[in-house]
Subunit: 203 residues, 4 copies
């Protein structure tokens, strides 16, 4: 991927995910952290289809979700993104995907509190995982339109689970992060592939 | 989507849906409302594959389904489209899709009278829906080759269900409308995605 | 489809089917009837991947499967194709597809002697079918490497079932014909779509 | 496929497999045998996404997995590839794929020691198989991060099963070989298609 700018890389991710059916409609957002002190991020504006993003669909926001550059409405999920960047010092990109297999597992495993995946070689696609003999947990959080409440829940999950790579919001989608856009993409692709395997195994 | 003309947008929708396998053969039709008083619409002519439409595959019809412009036979479904435009003052586009998941649900839920979808964030892709905690009904109507009878049934369904975004004709396909081609497309994509989720959840 | 020559149209069909995963490997053949008296046909040579055909992959054969033009080995299935053309005076093209859903149904319904499909609007994609309230039978024939024996079975099936559009060879694939390449394509696409619907309905 | 160099052909295979979802992340490797005495092979370097390979992603190694040309880290799986080339005198290419159906069967059939496939015409896509009435075994080997131990197991499997075309490493992926890149590709495609058929048949 020879993309230079962060927005180019996010645009490409959106195009690829959309082509796979992983991000229909305007659900979810992509962001890149531009700076930490003070915190500035670049995030998709609300209401944009992810398959056809361009540079006009992004906003530059500060720590209070105030717009520094760009036109549009900050997504409701901006607080979720800020929560991840604050509690994960190495995260620089957050991506999102929405698939049938993931949503089904978020229902099926809701009582367990997390989707648990173990024993697959593909787990090595997650940063820090060097063996198939690893158990990855993807915590499941109940959805809510109250973004403040949802952010608090996300923060607690992040604090209690230092090794996770992603969180699933029930019947919503997968939020995964990484140190680069490429790594965040790999995390999304790895987990969505494993969701499909786990979901079909149980049939 | 930088398409200008309505036929360009319908052509693009057909190409995208066909590529996904959502509209094989000549089933279903796409239309755009050109004017209300008097009513004029532009609709795909009968017998056209939706994946390879061009401007010659469209007819301009009046309120009586008489051809004002174009060559071809008006689709049997013209009356359905006219029914929707008459009873939905804001609708300006009707699209169609045909998938395995949708057809299976139209059988499985036929006795309930509708496919019911609740709790998914993706429901917010439907106009007027602002929370995942929403119950969307897609009424199921028995198919018939008698278009006059079918139109009357469709009209009753539209009158009795002011908030629906689409109707499913059993073992036929999904008819969804919107205020623009883009919105109708989003409705189709949102519902087909949710049909897949609901259908697989029950296995 | 602006293709002129029959081989162009067959090449395009191969490319499309291969892209969908309907014809991996060298299974099956495509043919076009060039003339009836005497009978001449153009058929894919043995051992060719269908996704990357070009004009060198076709042979022109006579009624005895002797090569009139082209280089290569006539496919073992040449006799099947000749049987269809002899017993279906209007057929001018035979196509083939191989999918998981079709193969599963060919096993599941083998004892019934045919895959039976009824009630779907999509059935109107088959020539001569004007209502969803139609029952289409796709006879299932046991596979055999003895092409002479297999041809005789196929001939009996064709004689006993004047209205069928296709035959399924168990755990092999779907053989469908039409008056044009476009019609044969539509028959394949219609039936494969319906196989997927019928197969998933039973889960 | 008009590709000249082996790396071009491997790059193309990676692109095609990735597009189908058969090789997300950096799992698995592709290699081509350049010479036997002394043994030299060209293999994908560790950590490369298979969908976007180019000539810089390959290493030329000798029999001891020492780098003769190229930059990067030899994959952990290099020993597996060397094992296959040593024990299969005609193999010149090894490819890899990772699918949900294959991984599910590698679990489901682990106690049997192999995935067994019989009766499908598509089996004729495997070299040396001339009839659908053939039973193909794909031995399943437990995964291990100890590559030396894993190689020994692979060697025993190859010695005990002279007619196999591929091996499945449980919850990892399919390793298949061929006399050319094209043949290895056909083996992967044939087996993955049949895995899908066998896996869905059992639901």
């Amino acid at each position: 991927m020879a993309d230079n700018s962060p927005t180019d890389q996010l645009t490409e991710a959106g195009r690829v995910f959309y082509a796979r059916g992983w991000g229909r409609g305007a659900s979810g957002n992509y962001s890149v952290l531009l700076a930490r002190k003070p915190m500035r991020l670049c995030i998709t504006a609300a209401g944009n289809e992810k398959g056809t993003l361009d540079e006009t669909n992004f906003l530059e926001l500060d720590d209070d979700a105030e717009i520094l550059q760009g036109f549009g409405r900050p997504s409701d999920e901006t607080m979720l993104h800020l929560s991840v960047y604050r509690l994960r010092p190495r995260a620089r990109c957050i991506l999102y995907s929405q698939t049938v297999a993931g949503m089904i597992l978020s229902d099926r495993n809701f009582v367990d509190g997390a989707i648990s995946i173990q024993g697959y070689e593909a787990l090595k696609g997650l940063s820090g995982v060097t063996s198939h003999d690893h158990t990855e947990l993807v915590p499941i959080v109940e959805n809510s339109q109250d973004q403040i409440a949802l952010s608090h829940v996300i923060q607690n999950v992040l604090l209690e689970n230092p090794n996770i790579h992603a969180i699933y919001i029930r019947r919503h989608g997968l939020f995964a992060w990484g140190e680069t856009v490429e790594q965040a993409r790999r995390h999304i692709e790895t987990l969505e592939f494993l969701f499909e395997a786990v979901e079909r195994s149980a049939n």
